[in-house]
């Protein structure tokens, strides 16, 4: 299968995404510069982490206007898989491909640490090979990861089964203590209604290289591969 990894000025997790998908998962992967106007036959697009456009105005706010985003949006609307990681999640909410917004962490601190997340929805292409309620150790590194949506939006997320990951402790308890940034309902990742677009704040590409001992993130890439190959 083939990934396209979008690079904006200021993206910095593109190489990690490429390294994991190409060299650890053994899939094809290509970089796409944000000014390009065509994709390269992807099965899945990754919008990687970083600080696109320096997070100027709001994180992801300017990236949404880059030429390539027209193609990314069209690809998503046709049902293509899109995975936004960290800044990528922010870009996806700014474009409207995902609902809600990522706000400043309630602590006002940039938080960089290992984090447990619980997989609460295995009915997506990104989590279909993971058992329901599995706890994954996937690092976070962000200043604006505090997910917010209004009451009607939250009800829609719940009714449509769109919440995928929630921050939790090592025993899987989802509570305020284990919520690193104040995210509503400890939401760490969601999908759109059609479940082909995923946004997540944690970095699965930082939890997939065996040399780092923890490879929980691989389960997400394996799920994607399984979905595409079926």
């Amino acid at each position: 299968m083939k990934y396209n990894i979008i690079i904006f000025p200021g993206s910095n997790c593109d190489y990690d995404a490429y390294y994991i998908t190409r060299h650890i998962m053994g899939d094809e992967a290509e970089y796409i510069w944000h000014k390009d106007t065509s994709l390269k036959n992807p099965d899945c697009i990754i919008i990687p982490g970083g600080f696109s456009y320096g997070d100027y105005l709001r994180a992801g706010a300017i990236a949404k206007f880059s030429p390539i985003m027209r193609e990314v949006i069209a690809f998503a609307k046709k049902g293509g898989l899109v995975m936004g990681i960290c800044n990528g999640f922010q870009v996806l909410t700014e474009t409207g491909l995902l609902p809600g917004a990522l706000m400043l962490n309630r602590s006002l601190l940039f938080i960089c640490k290992h984090q447990y997340v619980k997989v609460v929805n295995t009915r997506t292409p990104f989590t279909r090979k993971i058992m329901q309620e599995t706890i994954l150790d996937i690092p976070i590194a962000h200043n604006e990861g505090n997910y917010f949506i209004d009451d009607d939006g939250l009800k829609a997320l719940q009714d449509n089964d769109q919440i995928v990951f929630q921050y939790c402790d090592k025993d899987g308890f989802v509570n305020d203590e284990s919520n690193p940034n104040g995210s509503l309902l400890s939401i760490a990742g969601i999908v759109n209604k059609k479940k082909n677009v995923l946004g997540m704040m944690p970095h699965p590409e930082r939890s997939s290289d065996p040399i780092l001992k923890v490879t929980d993130g691989q389960q997400i890439f394996k799920s994607i591969k399984h979905f595409i190959k079926k």
């Binding site: 917004a101 962490n105 602590s107």
Partner: protein, 80 residues
């Protein structure tokens, strides 16, 4: 040339941790009578436009770029 001052503010129901910290700092300095602080953004925009279309244009600029409608609202003043 028309100058406009645009204020983009967090919706009242949205938590503002920056505002909270600023209030705490003021409290530490002895300003105990400050009850709440909300931090906002202000943009000064100079547009070459007509007076009858300027409001519509500023609304569009705000809706599309300057404000995130999920969490922010805006007001603006047009200067003659």
């Amino acid at each position: 040339m028309i100058k406009a001052t645009i204020y983009v503010t967090l919706k009242p129901e949205v938590l503002d941790p920056q505002g909270k910290v600023i209030k705490t700092a003021l409290d530490t300095l002895g300003y105990h009578n400050v009850k709440e602080v909300r931090a906002s953004k202000m943009f000064e925009v100079t547009i070459d436009s007509e007076t009858d279309t300027i409001e519509k244009e500023i609304n569009e600029i705000c809706d599309k770029v300057l404000a995130n409608p999920n969490i922010e609202t805006y007001t603006f003043k047009i200067h003659d």
